[in-house]
Every structure is written in C-alpha cells, then in structure tokens.
C-alpha cells in the first residue's frame, strides 16, 4: 500500500479540497426509482453476459472462441464475490479522498432496510457491482487468445481491489478527490472505459504479441456474433447510462436520448470513414463505431444535450476508427480486440468533450460544482484522464510484472497454437462432425 500512497501523493492538491457534500433530501424509498434501478442493473449485467462475451467471442479465432466466453463468465462470478467481500467497501464504504475504507467489508450494514438515496442500498450495491464486472471484462479484449486462465483470474482480482475500487471512489464515492474537483463522469467514462482501456494497453504490451501476429491471418471467426454482441451492448447501455442517474427522472430521460443519438452518430461515422478510405463499409466497422459512440457518451450522458451527443459520437467514431486501424499498426502493439483503441481512446474523447458540451451555451446541463467555464471544466476532465492513465497504467504494469515473474502470464506456445479452448478447458466451441 505504501507505493500506492506515494503515488497518490502526486495528486495531493486534491487533499485540500473540501469533501463534497451530498444532499440527502429524500431519505424515503421511491418505488418508481427502485423499479427502474432493478431493471437498469439487469441491463448492465446483460452487457457483459452475454453482450460483451459475444462481441469479443466473435472476434477471436474459432479455436479460442469458447475460452473467451469462459473468461467473461468467470470474471462475472469472481468480481461478484470480490465486490461483496471488499470492493464495495473500498468504493462506497465511507468518506475519504482516496478510498472508502473497510467498514462495509462483507456488506456489513447493508441490510434489507438500508437506503442509498431513494433506492435500497442492496440495489445500489448490485448496480455498482455490474460496473465492477464489466470493467475488468473489457480488458480481456486486449490480451485475448494468449493469457493463461489462472493468471487472468489472479490479475483481475488484484486489479479490481487495487485499481477499480479506489478509482470508483475518487470519482463517485463520498469525499472522493476527483468528484470534489467537479469532474463530470456521469456513467463511468473515466472509471470504466479509460480505466479498462489503459489497463488493456499495458496488458497487451506486457504480454506481448500473439504468435504469428502480423504474419499470419487472424480474422474474426464469426462477425454475426460480434454484431449481435454489439447490439446487446447498445441495448444494455441504457441501463448503464440512464441508470447512472439512480432515479427514474428527467435526467435519466435525457441520458437515454443522448446515448441513442451519440451511438448512431459514431456507428455512421466509422462506417463512412471506412467506406471513404477503404472503399467498402464493413459490419465490424459499424459495430465497432457503435461501441465507440457508447463509450464516448458515457461520461457525458447526464451533462450534454442532443446536439452535443452528435458531435461527441462523430468525434469518437472517427478517432477510434483511426486508432484501431492506423495507430495500432503504426505503434505495433497487439491490442487484439482493440480494448484500448475503442474504450481507451473513446473514453478520453468523451471525457474531454463532456467538458465542452456540458456548457449551457452548447445545449448542456451546466458545469460541475464551482466551475464556470469550458476551459475550467475541460482542465478538470483532463486531470481525471491523466490521473487515471498514470495510476492505472503504473499499478497495472506492476501487477502484471509480478505475475509474469512468478506464475507467468501466457499459455505455452503449444497451447497458443492449439487454441485456448482445448488447451485451457479441454473442450471446443464448435463440434461440427
């Protein structure tokens, strides 16, 4: 924990900020809000299983298809337990600039009667749990087709506790230092997408390229899965974004509208970009574009208006297109399914543009507390991006290096060639004879 503290010291200016006081004006349960949040929670879980599983599972080669599904299913189960044991407490257990403490370990004090705002705390805890599930799951795309299942489970466990839960507290927890600065991260652009994206980039680099990367063909084995998965993500994302209002109200309504609009704008932008630069629009392209739009509108969904959503979607669609198709090849890392290219880049684009389009002059809902200009908001957004890039980047690197030097991160070359399905699980995705 010592290095964590010294690292956090880098952001010590934040310690001077007063803890953000949350209004607790409605301590009674609202059945309307609760009904919506029950549904929203299920929608977000649906994003990982089966949504993201199919999105990723279709993009790998058939010999690794099943292992991708298994990894996401196992992450879903493991993160659930870890969230109950300690994750929820670190993120939401109490006030503190950097973490919420250990008071709510094993869900101590979370009873059938406890409330969080106008909804039962149990619902809030499970809603947040689904975010703690999908964020590690997103990283899988970066190291697909080569990571050892056992190392993956250990890495994800440590990552949830040391990276995800604290950053969640920084942004959304009582007294969290980024929240206190007035950062606008409505549904998790920083907490979820930049976080998973940069962790993915580090993982792709530390694990190294897949055997034969750049020399042998590694086309997606089933793009219909991928498009079905992207469609499920799109649908589930309404729980993610509109649900992040934690109420069934006007802001949730606008969050839903801008989510749909930005996603469509980004899907079209990627499709047309490919059409113009390559000559043909592709299914993988339009599906990837939709996800890029969903990612970018995530931090903005409670802050911007419909026109801002179009701009954010278009910008993210184009920049993620460039990063997945050009930047990756230029720099030569093997971010297999573009976890960084789509979630990292899209998250950064969304986080920064949220600072612009939150402005009421551009149809937004206004800046964070104590912030009066676009420049002021963008600089807080940039601080959030920078802090996440550095903290997550460094800690992820250290975690992976420890595992690399002890139990090893990659499957053996034989298993990689044979495929993770039979190599790691003794079964196959497709038995066609």
């Amino acid at each position: 924990m010592k290095f964590m503290k010294s690292l956090l010291g880098l952001f010590s200016t934040a310690m001077l900020m007063p803890a953000l006081a949350f209004a607790d004006d409605a301590p009674t349960l609202s059945s309307g809000d609760t009904a919506w949040m029950l549904v929203a929670t299920v929608l977000v879980l649906f994003m990982t299983i089966p949504g993201l599983s199919m999105f990723y599972g279709g993009m790998v080669r058939s010999k690794n298809a099943l292992s991708t599904f298994v990894q996401l299913f196992a992450i879903t189960s493991l993160m659930t337990i870890l969230w109950v044991v300690i994750g929820y407490s670190i993120a939401f257990g109490g006030e503190g600039a950097y973490w919420g403490g250990l008071d709510k370990m094993f869900l101590k004090g979370v009873t059938v009667d406890s409330l969080s705002g106008t909804i039962p705390e149990t619902v809030f805890m499970v809603f947040q749990m689904t975010f703690a599930i999908i964020t590690p799951a997103l990283i899988v795309g970066a190291f697909a087709e080569r990571m050892k299942f056992s190392a993956m489970l250990i890495f994800m466990s440590l990552w949830l506790i040391i990276v995800y839960a604290p950053i969640t507290h920084w942004v959304w927890g009582d007294g969290g230092w980024l929240g206190g600065k007035g950062i606008l991260d409505f549904a998790g652009g920083t907490v979820v997408h930049i976080n998973a994206g940069i962790a993915g980039l580090v993982a792709a680099i530390v694990l190294g390229k897949r055997k034969g990367y750049g020399k042998t063909a590694m086309p997606p084995h089933n793009l219909t899965y991928t498009i079905i998965g992207a469609s499920m993500l799109w649908v589930g994302w309404f729980g993610f974004n509109a649900g992040s209002e934690l109420a069934a109200d006007n802001v949730a309504g606008m969050a839903m509208a801008v989510t749909q609009i930005a996603t469509a704008a980004a899907a079209l932008t990627w499709m047309f970009a490919e059409w113009i630069f390559h000559g043909k629009p592709s299914g993988l392209g339009i599906a990837s574009g939709a996800v890029a739009g969903l990612v970018a509108i995530t931090p903005a969904s409670g802050a911007v208006g419909p026109m801002g959503a179009i701009a954010i979607g278009a910008a993210s669609g184009f920049l993620c297109y460039l990063s997945a198709t050009k930047l990756k090849q230029m720099l030569g890392y093997d971010d297999s399914l573009d976890a960084f290219g789509v979630h990292g880049i899209g998250g950064i684009v969304g986080a920064l543009l949220t600072g612009v389009f939150a402005s009421t002059s551009l149809g937004g809902a206004g800046f964070g507390d104590g912030i009066e200009s676009i420049a002021g908001q963008v600089s807080v957004q940039a601080l959030g991006v920078g802090a996440t890039l550095i903290y997550t980047g460094v800690v992820t690197f250290i975690l992976l290096m420890i595992l690399k030097l002890t139990i090893g991160l990659r499957v053996s070359e034989d298993v990689e060639v044979e495929g993770l399905d039979t190599g790691e699980h003794d079964e196959r995705a497709y038995i066609l004879n």
Partner: protein, 112 residues
C-alpha cells in the same frame, strides 16, 4: 470407363447435378474443396488488418462413367457450370482400371 473430375463454383452444383441426371449419370461424389487458379484470391479487411485469402472455396465433382458417355458428360458439365466469368473451374478426365460394386461384387461397366 472414365473418371470425370470437375472443379466448379459451389453455387453451380445443383445445376450440374441436374444436367448429369438428365443424361443418365447414375451417381456422383461431391467434395467441398479449396484452391487457386487464374481467379486468384481476394483481400479481406478487419479493422485495418488486411488478409489475403489465397484459396477460394470450390466444389469437386467426381463421376465415374462409361467411356461412350464421356463427351456427353463433359458437355453437360461445361454448359451447366458456365457463367462466362473467371473462376468457372476445370474438368479432368482419367482412365479407370476397374470398378467393383461392393454389395454384389459386380465388376466393370455393369458396376457403374
């Protein structure tokens, strides 16, 4: 007896089968194959990663026929499998030394 082997475009299989039935060919063997010829392959692009697909899917038909029927068979296949575009395929003819029907033990042209 001759063995007529034809490599054709997959979507022409039904037309060829029908044409062969019409002229009295009693059986064929069909295999899905891959290969390249003058048509060459094509490129596919996935998020900027370009792959050259060298081998294209084709269907291989094998028909064992009586020597007297061979010209008719060639004509039927040529006509049915023709699209006029590159990649329509090829027909090879080879001599068959012997044919035996496993169930009855019949040999020679009677076994065809």
């Amino acid at each position: 007896m001759k063995m007529v082997t034809a490599i054709i475009k997959p979507f022409k299989l039904d037309d060829v089968r029908e044409a062969l039935s019409e002229i009295g060919v009693k059986g064929i063997t069909v295999t899905e194959v891959k290969g390249f010829g003058r048509q060459k392959g094509h490129t596919e692009l996935y998020r900027g990663a370009e792959y050259v697909v060298d081998f294209l899917p084709k269907v291989k038909i094998e028909a064992a026929v009586d020597s007297s029927q061979v010209d008719q068979v060639i004509e039927a296949i040529s006509k049915a499998a023709n699209t006029g575009k590159i990649g329509d395929g090829k027909i090879f003819v080879a001599e068959i030394e012997q044919t035996i029907r496993i169930r009855t033990g019949e040999a020679g042209p009677d076994a065809l």
